[in-house]
Every structure is written in C-alpha cells, then in structure tokens.
C-alpha cells in the first residue's frame, strides 16, 4: 500500500518553490544569431527540477524521483481536462479546420520515418532503426514493439532509446524547435500549433508554450489547435502505429539498408551473434 502513497511532502514543497521561482522569472525572448528562442516558466521549472534530481547532487532519493514520476502521471489528467474545456467552446472552429487537422496527422505519423529512418541507416544502425523511427516511441508505442518483436529484440532497444530521450528531453527539445520554426516565419502559428500535437501532453505543452511567447496574439488558437491535434494523434496513434507505421518502417528499412547501410566487420559480427542466438 505504501507504494501508492504519493503524499511525499518534500517533493511537493520543492515543486512549489520551483514553480514560484519559475513564474517570477516569467517568459522571456532570447535573441540568438539565427532567430529568437522562447523561454518560459515551464522550461525553467523542468530544467531546475532536472538539475535537482541529478543523482550526483544527492538531493532526491531514487524513491522520491519515482514518486515524482507517479505524480506526473496523475497530474497530466488535469492538462487534458483543461485542454478539453478549451476545445468545447471552439468546437465549430476545430471542425472547420477538419481537413487541415486530418492531413497534418499524416505528417505526424510519417514524419518520423521519412526524416529519421534514412539517417539512422546511414549512421550504421541496424534493426534498432525500425523501433527507433517508426513513431515517437511513447508508452503505447513501446507496447506495440514489445508485442511484435519481444522486449529483448534489437527493434525494442531502438524504441527504448528514443523513449528515454523523449522522457528526458522531448519537451525541452520541442520547445526549442517550435521557437526556431516559428522564427523562420515560413509557417503560420496555426500550422505550427497543429504540428505541436505530437501525442505527448508535456511535449505538446512545451511546444505550444514557445509558440504563445512568439505569437501572443494567437494564444487561444494555438492552444485550441495544438490540443485538438494532440487529441487526434492520441486517439489514432496506437491503431496507425501498429497497422501502418510499423510495417511501413520495416519495409522501408529492408529496402534501404542494403542500398545505403554501412558494411563493417563489427556489424557482421553482430549479425553472427544474432543468428547464433536463434
């Protein structure tokens, strides 16, 4: 029963302090050579919290970090609830952009394969490529890979790598990317808002947050459309990833790997190892 006791006073007090500090600093635009980077409270809180949790600082115990992760899992529902109440009043507007929302979902699902898969193969990754690039590898995507290839497979190792990266840096990276893409002025805030709906709540929040700092006049539309796209990605996600993205990534890999994959002795050894295991 203790496992479910999430009322750890220490982490909540730390969280409260970090939130107060972060909100007092407030949103800032940082001019860098190639554009503007949006900085805002949730990023400060994320980074400060991350630093405090570093094992070498010994501020937090492993158990307290696990509790923070549990709290995160529950608190996320509140974001969903808030986004829902923002979608309701704008529901007509959302349906008016139904085609854009539908088509951008295709972008969400094939974007990982088109951009990341060829580079992974060029870098010399083998079947890890399939798991790593068929989706953004959140929890539900990991379940799909485990089921098809087994948790110990090369494919699963690739997926776990991206999962860990996403857990640690997904939000902060997408916040930066949203700043950079927003700064190009090629995209409208609405299109970027939809792009931000990658299917992970905290990641979407960070990207939408950056867009709001850059385009304050579009604040409501940014939240409504990133929320709608995120919901669409979540609803369609598991189905499309299992039945379309994964077979597609596997075929693309099988076709591409003999053409541009690296041939090294090390890789041959790995293959030998794999067949020996069978």
């Amino acid at each position: 029963m203790n496992k479910y006791k999430l009322t750890n006073v220490k982490i909540h007090i730390i969280a409260l302090c970090l939130v107060i500090i972060a909100e007092f600093i407030g949103a800032k635009k940082l001019n860098v050579g190639f554009g503007v980077i949006a900085l805002f409270p949730m990023l400060y809180a994320l980074v400060l919290g991350g630093i405090m949790s570093l094992p070498s600082l010994r501020i937090l115990k492993e158990k307290e970090m696990t509790k923070s992760a549990n709290v995160l899992g529950v608190s996320f529902i509140l974001i969903v609830s808030k986004l829902g109440t923002m979608l309701g009043p704008s529901i007509v507007k959302v349906f008016q952009e139904g085609w854009a929302l539908l088509f951008q979902e295709i972008g969400h699902f094939i974007g990982t394969i088109i951009i990341a898969l060829p580079i992974a193969v060029l870098l010399g990754m083998k079947r890890e490529t399939i798991g790593a690039t068929y989706s953004i590898d959140r929890e539900n995507n990991l379940a799909i890979i485990y089921e098809k290839f087994g948790p110990e497979s090369e494919e699963s190792k690739g997926a776990i790598g991206v999962y860990i990266f996403g857990t640690l840096f997904g939000a902060i990276y997408l916040g930066l990317l949203a700043s950079i893409l927003g700064g190009t002025r090629f995209f409208s805030p609405l299109a970027l808002a939809m792009g931000a709906g990658v299917g992970s709540g905290s990641t979407m929040a960070a990207a939408a947050g950056a867009l709001i700092v850059l385009f304050p006049d579009f604040k409501d539309d940014i939240l409504v459309f990133s929320g709608a796209a995120n919901l669409a990605t979540t609803i369609l996600g598991t189905f499309i990833c299992a039945f379309i993205s994964l077979p597609l990534a596997e075929r693309f890999y099988n076709w591409l790997e003999p053409r541009i994959g690296r041939r090294k002795k090390k890789n041959l050894d790995n293959q030998g190892g794999a067949s020996y295991e069978k």
Partner: protein, 148 residues
C-alpha cells in the same frame, strides 16, 4: 481514486499560486475554476473505468470528451463553466506538471548515459520529423483552404 484526488488538489493549489504570480489572477477568483477542472478529471477517470467501450488511452479520451461536452455550445450552462475554467491559465497549469517531470529526470539519467550518440541523433530527428512534417502538411491545407 482518493490518491488521485489528493494529488490533483496539490497540483491545483500550486497552479493557483503560479497563476497568481504570472497572470495576476487572485486564487479567490480562480479556485472555483480549478475545482471544476479537478472534478472533470476525476469523473473522467471514473468514466474510463466503467465505460465498457474499448479505446486506446481511455483516460485521455474520456476526460477530453467530458470536458469538451460540458463546455461546448450544446450543454446548457456551458458559458458558466467556461467562465470559471478560463480563469486558470493553461501555461500556469503546465508549470507544476513539468516540474514533476523534471524532478523525476534523475532516475533515467544513468540509463540515458549508456545510450550511444547515434540513438540521440536519431531521437532528435524523430521529434523533428513528426513536428516538421505535420506543420508542413497543416500549412499546405490551411493555405489551400484560404484560412491563412
């Protein structure tokens, strides 16, 4: 359920303070909105357990559906609900949530250090790809439709 309620109340409380600092909305004005959001979240979680329709990510879907229905024009009193929930700024809500994400980073950092540089590059490209291509597709359709 009791634990969920407690956690949401704590996060809600922290959010009200953040909302006060950043958006100058006094907690007295925003507390009712937060209570509504928490009730929607808890009822949504409960719904996801009792509704027998099998969907992926049931919590996300049923909480969203409930929140959406209660604030959409078809629901009588939707304006009153929106009026209260609008007091809670989305950005104020995400700050505490991401704080807990930060505080849990340490438990994965050692696993991360064992990952190779290749998987990090590929991860960056995976996130770039999904965001960039969706934005490009959205931009094309929005321009085609004349929305922008």
């Amino acid at each position: 359920m009791k634990n969920n309620a407690l956690i949401l109340t704590i996060i809600g409380g922290i959010t009200l303070i953040g909302n006060w600092i950043s958006f100058k909305v006094s907690p007295i004005d925003s507390i009712l909105g937060m209570i509504i959001l928490i009730i929607i979240a808890l009822v949504g979680v409960w719904l996801s357990k009792i509704i027998p329709i099998k969907v992926e990510s049931p919590t996300v879907i049923w909480v969203s559906v409930l929140a959406l229905l209660l604030t959409s024009p078809i629901f009588p009193g939707h304006e009153t609900i929106s009026q209260f929930t609008d007091k809670i700024n989305f950005m104020a809500l995400t700050t505490p949530v991401l704080t807990y994400a930060g505080l849990s980073v340490g438990k994965d950092i050692n696993t991360f250090k064992k990952l190779g540089i290749r998987i990090v590059i590929v991860s960056l490209l995976v996130y770039t790809g999904t965001f960039l291509l969706a934005s490009i597709f959205a931009e094309i359709v929005l321009r085609f439709n004349g929305t922008i």
